[in-house]
């Protein structure tokens, strides 16, 4: 009989070993999958994990890791605050879209004026857009007790329709031959979120992601608000007794996560993506939820988890093109990786006890 026993303290060894074990297990089972599909498993795994970081063209892929990872980390950091306090913002995708629309809207409104003030204004607008969109579930929750999971999720679909409407209507480029999509902000210097060092992938969104990690770390470790968040998540009633105002906490957590998601959208639309299009959003808001949990809601963990997710995306695309693996196989591979990461996490907080179950 095997029993699980809760550890008095989370195991430090296992909190580091678990992800490694998970990646190894994924390699074994993923390799098996690739072998079944008739591909060389070792080559496939090397292509996914090794190629982007150390391969022949790593000089190109490493910056791409930053570009792909930054929005994930930025959004996940915001979400983690709320998740810790038991406030569930599932609608970051919608806030990401609204941030992009607000940010791009400001930029496009000034076109073709050139001024150093335009970009900072866009950043503010992007943050505002995401924040406002998150305030809807926040205020409804505070005022009416409405479930924020559902409202924030519903608002994703509403935001997607706004996005379609903007790309086809108000923000449609007048020089776009009638096709949907806005002007390309990459070709508008004052609004372009360019690489700070050309070819490095370091755009303002990456900088913002790193700042957010530090900010969240300090907040959770040192600040009273961080304490309030943790207490509320662990024991809501105790939190109420210790003077935490639950309504303000809801507004803060949802607001911050919306703001960061909005920023992520704004940096994406003004930088790597360049334009508002119908299919602008590619699921960062949802993937970030996974990233937040993979990182155990810890800022540093989220940074690493975001990097890992970005790696599997980039490596997965390389494997598709080099080995002819279908995209679906990569998706299954990612799913496996998540399963193993989540499963092995058990051993951080519990240990196995072999032998007969004791009589209570």
């Amino acid at each position: 009989m095997i029993a699980l026993v809760k550890r008095p303290e989370p195991s430090r060894v296992f909190s580091l070993a678990a992800p490694v074990l998970a990646v190894l297990a994924t390699m074994v089972f993923g390799g098996l999958l690739f072998a079944i599909l008739g591909k060389d498993p070792l080559l496939a795994i090397k292509t996914i994990f090794w190629e982007p970081v150390f391969g022949e063209f790593a000089f190109f892929y490493r910056p791409q890791l930053l570009i792909k990872g930054a929005p994930l980390v930025l959004i996940a950091i915001g979400l983690s605050l709320g998740f810790k306090a038991g406030i569930w913002n599932i609608g970051a995708e919608g806030q990401y879209i609204m941030g992009a629309l607000f940010g791009a809207g400001v930029g496009l409104a000034f076109y073709p004026a050139e001024s150093a003030l335009i970009f900072p204004l866009m950043v503010l607008a992007g943050a505002l857009g995401g924040w406002l969109w998150a305030m809807i579930p926040a205020i409804l929750k505070v005022r009416f007790g409405t479930n924020e999971i559902l409202v924030s999720l519903m608002l994703v679909y509403v935001a997607e329709q706004f996005l379609a409407s903007m790309s086809l209507g108000l923000m449609r480029s007048p020089e776009g031959m009638g096709f949907p999509g806005s002007r390309n902000l990459q070709q508008y210097a004052s609004a372009h979120n360019a690489d700070l060092i050309t070819g490095s992938g370091m755009h303002w969104g990456v900088v913002a992601a790193f700042i957010a990690v530090i900010f969240a770390y300090v907040l959770m470790a040192r600040h009273r608000l961080g304490f309030a968040i943790r207490v509320t998540g662990d024991a809501p009633r105790a939190a109420a007794f210790s003077g935490v105002n639950p309504a303000r906490l809801v507004l803060f957590c949802l607001g911050t996560s919306g703001l960061l998601a909005g920023l992520a959208g704004m940096f994406e639309v003004s930088g790597p993506a360049g334009q508002v299009t119908i299919d602008f959003n590619v699921g960062y808001g949802f993937t970030a939820i996974i990233v937040a949990f993979l990182g155990r809601l810890h800022p540093v963990g989220i940074l690493l988890a975001g990097g890992l997710m970005a790696l599997t995306y980039i490596g997965g695309d390389i494997a598709q093109s080099k080995l002819g693996l279908p995209a679906a196989a990569i998706q299954v591979f990612q799913g496996m990786l998540l399963f193993f990461l989540l499963a092995f996490d058990l051993f951080t907080n519990y240990r196995l006890r072999f032998g007969r179950a004791e009589v209570v």
Binding site: L4, K6, F293, A328, L338, F339
Partner: protein, 306 residues
């Protein structure tokens, strides 16, 4: 603009077909959530059901066998979630999202050879002379058996939850798993069974899309129905009959939107398309004035510490 072009009888009859995948997926999830488990993997289980059902129906020529296979496929996939959350005590939100990712990918691999294939058709139920009754006939008695099964299932779930001991135990587990455990109930076993039931229902819902509503197989064809089903459960505040109402509201609004367009009403389509979601939020605000009936242990991990 010509509103008379909308045939109210066909319009209402269309609700039933549009709502059926939602009803199946949502009623399964409702039971899961009533035991205190939040499974966000509905979309993944639906699409697995869609391909399992499709493949078996094509191979055997029997849509009914297909639905059976879909239920099994969904349940098997949900076991993965049950293992993660009940045995490995993993976070339910993340596990559910991972399940969706995995399901979408895996279904695409399974379905590679079924693109462009036409499945066998499911006959509508034959109600004989009853179907000739004006209005009632075409609205209620003109559908396939799965539609009625869905309705029966909702009634069953309602009755079981309300009147039987099994329902009582199920709710007890969801309200307070520690207390239920103290009373000697097998919390994990009950939850695992509920998760499998949810998986089977989601699978049937997915197969309804691939075998009847569309019918064809393409990758990612459930296109977000699973997420709407999740919303529906909360919308219904975990009550089976409200769920039915919600499913018709969701399905009906899409129908209405398309009908108005066909009739030439000039409303911007994006705003029509977002209306179901906006209305849901509004309804939700009104509903949440009466205290939300969320199961007490929803989403929390249970581990018997004894």
């Amino acid at each position: 603009m010509d509103l008379s072009a909308i045939n109210p009888i066909l319009f209402v009859a269309g609700f039933f077909v549009a709502a059926t995948p939602l009803i199946f997926a949502a009623i399964g999830e409702l039971v899961v959530e009533r035991t205190g488990v939040l499974n966000l993997g509905v979309e993944g289980m639906m699409i697995i059901g869609a391909i399992c059902g499709f493949a078996v129906a094509v191979e055997t020529g029997s849509p009914l066998l297909g639905f059976g296979a879909a239920a099994i496929g969904g349940a098997v996939l949900s076991l993965l979630f049950a293992f993660l959350t009940q045995v490995m005590l993993a976070n339910q939100v993340a596990s559910g999202l991972a399940l969706t990712l995995f399901g979408l990918g895996f279904s695409a691999l399974l379905g590679q050879s079924y693109v462009g294939v036409k499945p066998p058709r499911m006959a509508d139920m034959n109600f004989g002379p009853l179907a000739e009754i004006p209005v009632i006939g075409p609205v209620f008695l003109s559908h396939d058996i799965i539609v009625y099964l869905g309705l029966a299932l909702v009634a069953c779930v309602w009755a079981v939850l309300k009147f039987t001991r099994a329902g009582l135990v199920l709710r007890a587990v969801g309200e307070n798993h520690d207390a239920a455990h103290a009373l000697g109930f097998k919390v994990k076993r009950i939850r695992t069974l509920a998760i499998m039931f949810g998986g089977a229902c989601a699978g049937v819902g997915g197969a309804y899309i691939s075998l009847i509503r569309v019918p064809q197989w393409t990758e990612g064809m459930t296109a977000g129905v699973g997420w709407i089903a999740l919303a529906l459960v909360v919308f219904a505040s975990w009550k089976p009959f409200r769920l039915l109402l919600g499913a018709y509201l969701f399905g009906g609004l899409v129908q209405l939107q398309l009908n108005l367009q066909g009739a030439g009403v000039a409303i911007p389509v994006e705003y029509l398309a977002m209306s179901p979601y906006v209305i849901t939020i509004v309804v939700l605000v009104f509903l949440s004035r009466s205290k939300s009936a969320a199961p007490g242990s929803l989403g929390r991990i249970f581990h018997a510490s004894s």
